[in-house]
C-alpha cells in the first residue's frame, strides 16, 4: 500500500482548539495552567496533534537561541548537526526531557540545542542575521531530510506532537517549565497519519502561530508570499500565516496593527462610513496587499516575546473568546476553557470579526511576583499565598 501523504506532501484541512494565556507583567507561571485550559476543549481535537509554545522558559540561557528539533533517525541528526555547527556555535545540547505517556506513540528523536550565531559567518546587523536564520530554518524544513526544526528562538520553545494536547503536555513535562506567555493548540486533522512536525504551534524565529480554521484564500496567500523568498513546505494555513506576519512585521517593519489591517481588513461597507483620510489609507493598503487578505474561517493567536495578538476572520466564522483580569489576558476557542483557569475576570467577550485582541507584556514592570496560587514551583505558590 502506498504510504499516505503527510503535511507538506498534501494539504490537509483540520479543525482545532486554541488557547493562549499571557501575564501582562511578564511574570512566569507553570505550563500546567495552559494544559488545564486546552484540556477542557478535548472534543475539539481528535488526538492527532497537540502543542504548546512557551515564552520565558529558559531565563538562564536567554542570550542563546534555543533550537527544538525532531529527527527521524540518527543519520539525519548527524547531518543536521553538521549543518548547524557550520553556522552556529553550539553552547549546549541534549534531548528534551519527556515522560512516558500511554497515549503518546512513536515519538521522533527530540533534541534541543542552545546556539549562538557564528560571527565569522553572520553579519552583526540584526536584520541580516535574522534573514539568514530564517533561510536556514526554512531551508532545513523544506528539504524534508528527516530533520525538522520545531522552534528556533531565544528564551522560548515549542513543544508539540501527535496526541491530545494534555497528553503532549504531560509527555513534555510542561508542569516543570515556567513561562509568562503560553499558547496551546489541539488539532482535528481530517487524515489519520499524524506527523509530529505537522502539529502546531508553528514557529518562525521567536514568532509562533496557533490557528483554528481553514484559510480558503490559502493558495492566493501562498503564491504571493512565495514571491518573497518563503517556501510553504508544510502546506498548512498556520505556516503561511506565520510567514505573512514575518514578512509584514519583520521584513517590511510594519506594526502588528497594520498587519492585522492587511490580513483582516474592514469590509468596504464599513470603510464607507469611516473618516475619509483613514478610509483612503486603508483602501491603499488593501489595494497593494490584497493577496494577503486571509479569507475563510479562522481564529489565530500570534505570539511574540512581547505578547499576543488574537484575531478572528472578518465574518467571525470560527469561535474565539477573550478575557482579562488585572494581570492576565486569555484567549480560547471556548469560554469554558477560560473560566477554568482565570479568576477575577474583569471582562470576558467575544471579539468582533477582524478586530484584534491584544495581550502586550510589560517586560519592564518592576513587580515580578507571580499571582497564581496553583502555579508549579512551591516558592511561587508560597509567594502567591502570602499575597492573598
Amino acid at each position: 500500500m502506498k504510504k499516505m501523504l503527510r503535511e507538506g506532501d498534501v494539504r490537509i484541512p483540520a479543525g482545532c482548539a486554541i488557547a493562549a494565556l499571557v501575564n501582562l507583567r511578564g511574570l512566569p507561571f507553570a505550563g500546567t495552567r495552559i494544559a488545564d485550559c486546552i484540556a477542557v476543549m478535548r472534543e475539539r481535537s481528535n488526538g492527532l496533534g497537540g502543542g504548546f509554545a512557551a515564552y520565558g522558559i529558559y531565563p538562564e540561557m536567554k542570550d542563546y537561541y534555543a533550537v527544538h528539533v525532531f529527527f527521524d533517525g540518527i543519520p539525519e541528526k548527524r547531518e543536521f548537526e553538521y549543518q548547524l555547527r557550520r553556522h552556529f556555535r553550539v553552547v549546549s545540547t541534549g534531548p528534551i526531557p519527556t515522560r512516558r505517556n500511554d497515549e503518546i506513540h512513536n515519538p521522533p528523536i527530540i533534541w534541543r540545542y542552545f546556539v549562538s550565531p557564528e560571527n565569522s559567518l553572520l553579519a552583526e546587523e540584526p536584520v541580516r542575521r535574522q534573514e539568514f536564520m530564517v533561510s536556514f530554518i526554512t531551508g532545513v524544513n523544506a528539504a524534508s531530510n528527516g530533520a525538522y526544526i520545531v522552534s528556533f528562538g531565544k528564551n522560548m520553545g515549542v513543544f508539540k506532537g501527535v496526541g491530545f494536547p494534555e497528553d503532549i503536555a504531560d509527555f513534555f513535562r510542561l508542569d516543570e517549565y515556567r513561562g509568562y506567555l503560553w499558547t496551546a493548540h489541539g488539532r482535528f486533522p481530517t487524515n489519520t497519519p499524524g506527523w509530529w512536525g505537522g502539529a502546531h504551534p508553528f514557529a518562525l524565529l521567536e514568532t509562533t502561530v496557533i490557528h483554528n480554521g481553514e484559510i480558503s484564500s490559502y493558495d492566493a496567500n501562498r503564491r504571493f508570499i512565495e514571491m518573497y523568498g518563503y517556501r510553504c513546505s508544510l502546506q498548512t494555513d498556520t505556516e503561511v500565516i506565520a510567514y505573512i506576519f514575518d514578512f509584514l512585521c519583520r521584513r517590511l517593519g510594519m506594526s502588528q496593527e497594520e498587519a492585522a489591517l492587511i490580513v483582516a481588513p474592514p469590509l468596504w461597507d464599513e470603510l464607507a462610513m469611516m473618516e475619509e483620510e483613514t478610509a483612503n489609507r486603508i483602501t491603499r493598503i488593501r489595494a497593494v496587499f490584497s493577496s494577503l487578505l486571509l479569507n475563510g474561517p479562522f481564529s489565530i493567536v500570534l505570539a511574540t516575546p512581547d505578547g499576543i495578538m488574537a484575531l478572528n476572520d472578518r465574518l467571525k466564522l470560527r469561535p474565539m473568546v477573550a478575557a482579562e483580569n488585572e494581570d492576565f489576558v486569555a484567549v480560547a476557542s471556548e469560554e469554558a476553557a477560560i473560566r477554568k483557569i482565570l479568576t477575577g475576570i474583569n471582562r470576558i467577550w467575544s471579539p468582533r470579526g477582524g478586530e484584534p485582541v491584544w495581550g502586550k507584556v510589560d517586560l519592564t514592570h518592576p513587580e515580578r511576583e507571580p499571582l497564581y496560587a496553583g502555579e508549579g514551583g512551591s516558592d511561587d505558590a508560597e509567594a502567591a499565598k502570602s499575597k492573598i
Binding site: S217, D219, L252, L317
Partner: protein, 498 residues
C-alpha cells in the same frame, strides 16, 4: 461564371402564419426577404442569408425559421462542407476570406476543462445573501514591497477601481455603432467598471462617461490628441488583438461617415488603416518610450495598459512590458473577437488565453513582480465561471467584448465587416444603428454585469471566501478534467481527484 458558393441557411416560412406584415422585409439589411411585386406575397432569397436571426425574432407570428442549409457535400472527415465552401468562395473571388468575431473552430475550451472548488464541512461556505461579498478590484501599478514602501505616495500609483472585475473590451466607434458605446459606457458607469473606446476616439456624446473610459492608442493613432488622452481614466496601448495577431486593422471608407471621421479625426470616406506594427515601436525600449511619453503627457495621473495578443512567448513579452513601465498588462487570447479579420489568421494564429494567463502569472511571480502590475485577460470570456477561473488562474480582471455584444443582441453571424449588422451593433448605417436603443442596451449590459456579480458572489461564497482578491491566483481552487499532465503543469493546477 457559375458561382460555386452555396447558401448557408434556408428560410422556412409557415404561410399559414405569415400575415404579410413585412417586418422581415424591412428588417433584413441583406435583402433576403422581399415582396413579390406581382402578388405582394413575401419571399426569400436564401443565399443572401447570414443567419443573424433578426427576422425570426421580429416575426410577430413566429412564421419564420432560419435553419442550416440541408444540402451538404458527401461526408468526408477532412474535406468538410465548410472547407469546400471556403475554397469555392476563394475560387469565386480570388480574395482573402474575411470574417468577424473570434476563432470559430470547436477546439478544446480549457475553461470548460477546469472546475471550481466548494467548501464542505471543514470550512463553511458563505451565503452571499447574508454576508457582504466584495468584488472590488484595483488595477494599476502597486509599489514594490520593501521597508521604504511607497504606501504614502498614492499619487505615484494611480488605480482603477472596479466593483466587478469585468470590463468592456475595446471596440471602436466605427466598427460598432455609437449606441453600442453609449450602452456600454452607461453600464460601466452605473456598475462602476470601465469601458474601452477602442481605436476610434471618444465621441462627444459619450464624453459624459469618460471617468469610466479607457482610451486606446493603437497603431493608427485614430482620434488621439492630448485632450483625448486626458479624458480617459486609463490609457491602453494596443499592440495586438487576439482575433488578428500580427496584422493591422482596416475600417473601410464607407464606414467612415461624418461622425466616425470627426471622432477619428480623419477625412470622411477615407479608409482608416491601422498598420500591423506601431511604426514607432520596433522594440521593447520603443514601447517603454511610448509608455513614458503617454505618462508624461498626462502627468502620471493615469495608469497605462498595454494590450497584446496571446502568442507563443507571451510570458517573456509580458515580463518585458511590465519592466518597460506598463501598469496593466492585457492579454487577448485567440478567441478574442473582431469586426473584421482574415479568417485564416483568426483561426490559426495565437494561443488560448488560459495558457497565456497561466504562463504569464507564473513568470511574473517567479520574477517577484506579479504584485506590481495588474493582469487583465480577454478573448472568449463567456460567463461568470470563465471569469472566476481566469481570476483563480491569476488574472486581476477580464475584458468582455463578444459577450457584451451578445448581451446587446448579437447573434454571432460573423458578418460584422459587411456593415449590415441587422442588430444595429457592428454598423454605422443610421437605418440599422437606431435598432439598438441605448436605453435598452444599457439595461441589458447592466443586467449581464449584475447577473455575473451575483454568480461570482455565489462562487466565492461556495469556496468559503467573501473577497475576490482571495480567489486571485488561488489555483488550489481549480482542478483540471481530462487534461494531460503537461497541460495541468502549464496551467499550474491539479487534476480532479487530487
Amino acid at each position: 461564371m457559375l458561382k460555386l458558393q452555396k447558401a448557408k441557411f434556408e428560410i422556412g416560412r409557415d404561410f399559414d402564419r405569415c400575415v404579410g406584415c413585412g417586418v422581415c422585409v424591412n428588417q433584413c439589411a441583406n435583402e433576403v426577404h422581399f415582396r413579390d411585386p406581382y402578388d405582394e406575397s413575401v419571399c426569400a432569397d436564401d443565399i443572401k442569408c447570414v443567419g443573424c436571426q433578426r427576422c425570426v425574432h421580429l416575426c410577430p407570428t413566429g412564421a419564420l425559421r432560419v435553419v442550416s442549409f440541408a444540402s451538404r457535400t458527401r461526408e468526408h472527415g477532412l474535406w468538410t462542407s465548410t472547407v469546400i465552401n471556403e475554397i469555392h468562395l476563394q475560387s469565386d473571388s480570388g480574395g482573402i476570406l474575411l470574417s468577424g468575431m473570434g476563432h470559430s473552430r470547436p477546439d478544446t475550451v480549457y475553461w470548460d476543462r477546469i472546475l471550481l472548488n466548494a467548501s464542505q464541512v471543514t470550512n463553511p461556505s458563505i451565503d452571499p445573501l447574508r454576508e457582504p461579498m466584495e468584488l472590488k478590484t484595483f488595477l494599476g501599478r502597486k509599489p514594490p514591497l520593501n521597508r521604504k514602501n511607497s504606501l504614502d505616495a498614492p499619487e505615484k500609483y494611480p488605480q482603477l477601481e472596479l466593483e466587478i472585475p469585468v470590463m468592456f473590451a475595446a471596440m471602436s466607434f466605427g466598427s460598432v455603432s455609437l449606441n453600442v458605446h453609449k450602452s456600454l459606457a452607461r453600464a460601466a458607469m452605473s456598475q462602476k467598471t470601465y469601458w474601452n473606446t477602442g481605436e476610434g476616439g471618444l465621441h462627444p456624446e459619450v464624453r459624459a462617461y469618460r471617468d469610466r473610459a479607457i482610451v486606446q492608442v493603437a497603431s493608427g493613432r485614430f482620434g488621439v490628441s492630448p485632450e483625448y488622452l486626458e479624458e480617459g481614466a486609463c490609457i491602453e496601448i494596443k499592440i495586438g488583438q487576439g482575433a488578428k495577431p500580427g496584422i493591422g486593422g482596416h475600417l473601410p471608407g464607407e464606414k467612415v461617415t461624418g461622425e466616425v471621421a470627426r471622432t477619428r479625426k480623419i477625412p470622411p470616406g477615407s479608409d482608416a488603416i491601422s498598420p500591423a506594427p506601431h511604426h514607432d515601436i520596433y522594440s521593447i525600449e520603443d514601447l517603454s518610450q511610448l509608455i513614458y511619453s503617454l505618462k508624461e503627457a498626462t502627468a502620471y495621473r493615469k495608469p497605462v495598459a498595454v494590450k497584446i495578443a496571446a502568442v507563443h512567448n507571451v510570458a517573456a513579452i509580458c515580463s518585458g512590458m511590465a519592466r518597460a513601465g506598463a501598469d496593466i498588462l492585457v492579454i487577448d487570447g485567440y478567441r478574442g473577437g473582431s469586426g473584421a479579420t482574415p479568417l485564416r489568421i483568426r483561426n490559426d494564429v495565437g494561443i488560448p488565453v488560459e495558457f497565456a494567463l497561466a504562463a504569464v502569472d507564473r513568470r511574473l511571480r517567479e520574477e517577484g513582480i506579479r504584485n506590481e502590475v495588474s493582469l487583465v485577460v480577454s478573448g472568449g470570456i463567456r460567463n461568470s465561471a470563465d471569469v472566476a477561473k481566469a481570476i483563480a488562474l491569476g488574472a486581476d480582471a477580464v475584458y468582455i467584448g463578444t459577450a457584451a455584444l451578445v448581451a446587446l443582441g448579437c447573434h454571432m453571424c460573423q458578418n460584422c465587416y459587411t456593415g449590415k449588422c441587422n442588430w444595429g451593433i457592428a454598423t454605422v448605417n443610421p437605418r440599422l444603428a437606431r435598432r439598438l436603443n441605448p436605453d435598452i442596451g444599457t439595461l441589458r449590459a447592466e443586467n449581464l454585469l449584475r447577473a455575473w456579480k451575483h454568480e461570482l458572489a455565489e462562487f466565492l461564497g461556495g469556496m468559503g471566501m467573501n473577497a475576490i482578491e482571495s480567489l486571485r491566483g488561488n489555483r488550489l481552487m481549480l482542478r483540471g478534467l481530462g487534461l494531460t499532465e503537461r497541460e495541468l503543469e502549464i496551467l499550474g493546477i491539479k487534476a480532479v481527484g487530487e
